[in-house]
Symmetry: none
Subunit: 404 residues, 2 copies
């Protein structure tokens, strides 16, 4: 990002407080029956009031037309270029189930798979075994395999046939090939090193896979082997505090978002389950930080499930919580989403996301409704999500003049 060439010279600390409210999967698409989006359908007087008193726009999560996963979408919101900083699939899997990860660890996504006596893969998902069966198998595997050549192997259930595996040790490398033949009817592959210094990691993984097959052979299950992919280490990301001179805190209940926040060096509050927990915490720690990232999950979950009504209800639920945030008097507040999750698409999408910024230093526009169509007419315009952070810093007077 161009701004990285000058940020160090202009960023400064002060006592202003910034709140970033992220309603996951916020943006939607019209219900064909009514022609109205989820946001246009919801009764949300408090969100509308934020739009009315703020400056509104639409935020493009990554690039026009690009549908982001949670990782890139959040990196953008945190002011990092999500294309320059790609987070490995293994890392996201591991973060998503709440595992902690060190800089030298390698994270891997795994599948239980079915193979025949010739080690031909006959089902890459082992018949989607129940999560309970997965748990049982993982427990047995973990008992038998704790470390290989001084590399600690941590195996965890994700769900159904899916696993997360973490390697902890020295001289590990993510530059190894998958053992997955990608198609059924082909034999399991060996893991091979893709770069010189990855021979050791490949050896460890091949030994792990052979042992796992032997252990699984003794069990009554369709899971007869493990497929590995998404080998990745923690990306080198400049920590938030160093980059922005902010003391940041993440207030979220889902492991993935806590993990992403940790990746950029945020302090993460643990043990939160509900949005009420989150807002209570926000009130409690208000004095301790100057950047607050608060994450609301339900809008995305409902969208992913294709449940338009539930997404509307989730928006209304969050709307009802605003009064318990507003009295805190943040100097700068941004209400946005990480991406859109239209219920009719049942998935993340590329659509720009409604965004409102409140601060003493904005010109309030005439947008009076927090919806896709209304925000599109706001003064903030259609912006890149990765620029939002800098607009928030500017509004909190934390950026000095560039050049003379």
């Amino acid at each position: 990002m161009q701004i990285e060439k000058i940020l160090k010279d202009i960023v400064k600390k002060n006592d202003k407080k910034i709140l970033l409210l992220v309603m996951d999967g916020l943006g939607g698409l019209p219900d064909p029956a009514t022609g109205l989006t989820e946001l246009e359908t919801a009764k949300k007087p408090n969100l509308d009031e934020i739009a009315r008193s703020g400056m509104c726009g639409l935020s493009v999560p990554v690039l026009p037309g690009i549908t982001p996963g949670s990782g890139p979408a959040h990196l953008s919101l945190f002011g990092y270029d999500p294309i320059e900083h790609q987070i490995g699939r293994g890392v996201l899997e591991v973060l998503g189930i709440g595992m902690e990860m060190d800089k030298t660890d390698i994270a891997i996504r795994g599948n239980f798979a079915t193979i025949d006596e010739n080690r031909i893969v006959t089902d890459r998902r082992a018949g989607r075994i129940p999560t309970e069966e997965n748990r049982k198998l993982v427990q047995i595997l973990q008992e038998k395999i704790q470390s290989i050549r001084d590399v600690q192997i941590i195996i965890r259930t994700v769900k159904e046939h899916r696993l997360a595996i973490l390697l902890k040790g020295r001289n590990l490398s993510p530059d190894v090939s998958e053992n997955d033949p990608q198609k059924e009817g082909f034999p399991l592959k060996k893991v091979v090193s893709l770069k010189k210094d990855a021979d050791f990691t490949a050896d460890v993984l091949n030994e792990f896979l052979t042992t796992a097959e032997r252990v699984l052979a003794g069990q009554n299950t369709k899971a007869r082997a493990i497929l590995l992919r998404g080998f990745s280490g923690i990306p080198a990301i400049e920590p938030f505090e160093k980059r922005y001179l902010l003391k940041p805190v993440c207030i979220a209940s889902y492991p993935m978002y806590k993990g992403l926040a940790k990746l950029v060096g945020m302090n993460v509050i643990g043990g939160l389950e509900t949005i009420d927990d989150e807002i209570k915490t926000l009130n409690e720690v208000y004095g301790d930080y100057d950047f607050f990232y608060l994450h609301y999950k339900k809008t995305d979950s409902a969208g992913e499930d294709g449940d338009f009504k539930r997404k509307v209800a989730a928006i209304e639920e969050f709307d009802g919580k605003i009064s318990r945030i507003k009295h805190l008097k943040f100097d700068v507040m941004c209400l946005t989403g990480d991406h859109s999750t239209p219920s009719i698409l049942r998935s993340h999408s590329w659509h720009p996301v409604p965004t409102a910024i409140i601060s003493q230093n904005i010109i309030p526009d005439d947008v009076s409704s927090f919806t896709e169509r209304a925000c599109a007419k706001g003064m903030l315009g259609i912006i890149n999500a990765k620029d939002i952070m800098y607009i928030l810093l500017a509004n909190s007077l934390k950026l000095e003049k560039f050049g003379a």
Copy 2:
């Protein structure tokens, strides 16, 4: 900038004339009492008429959230990337007081400072001595120090404790360290070379500093030493005429803007004091050029002083001059600012700047008022200042088709 990869192939000369009207620090923020910005408060029928007949938008000076100094803000308006072409602080100081600078010169910002008998800096600003005292000391220093090792030393008063110093000679380099310890209570440092070829420059500067201390020791003043910083040479910028095939002229009264125009190779008209001088000159030289940059300073000065009313008055004054510009029938006219200077912030700011373009080849939008909020709804949208130049060239039919 991406356009630089194709500009040479498509730019062509014709007889169309472009006028760039820059109202310095144009954009503002609402007066809390009225909710209206300076532009929204001013009576400015002529500027509004430009908005009405033109295509309007907001211009982001450098990047979202970035508050630019005059240097980067103007480079953007002139179509250069202000982050790729950073202008040294010394160069801006020297240009700001109207000194001329050659390609091989090194410009330096200086402070008079107070030191004790152990050469510990006790006041980095020498008690902010009066400008008159500064002038007297500079005169004495300049008499005693005219050149060192064939390098001509030109010393000039800026104001209070501030100096500008220009080195003219061969084999000079800006890659030397400051002698400023940055904090009071620490001894003066030696200037040291930061790159191999800068040894000579460091030697010249150390000799200059020693001599200056000796000269100042004989004076009754708190100024007992000089601190140097911002060493810089003229950045390598492709001249306007070569880049755009335009014959450009700068019509401005303040040294800084004349200096910036000279940096990009504009012809600069001297001896102008007022906006009336400027407009008279514009009329006089209309036949001699095809690109006219006219700079109006008062909007920025009033904003910097936090004087909302005076900024409104400055806008109204400029509005009153438009009739003496309009009859000239420029083919393309752009009315904009280099950055915002909201009176309530008393400083430059990051806010996008109202911009209107008039040309035969635009689609007039329905913006009828030249204000921040109205322009935000214009067809030009929210654009980067550094793209404006290419839109002006296009509207004057000076850019041929790219590709077949």
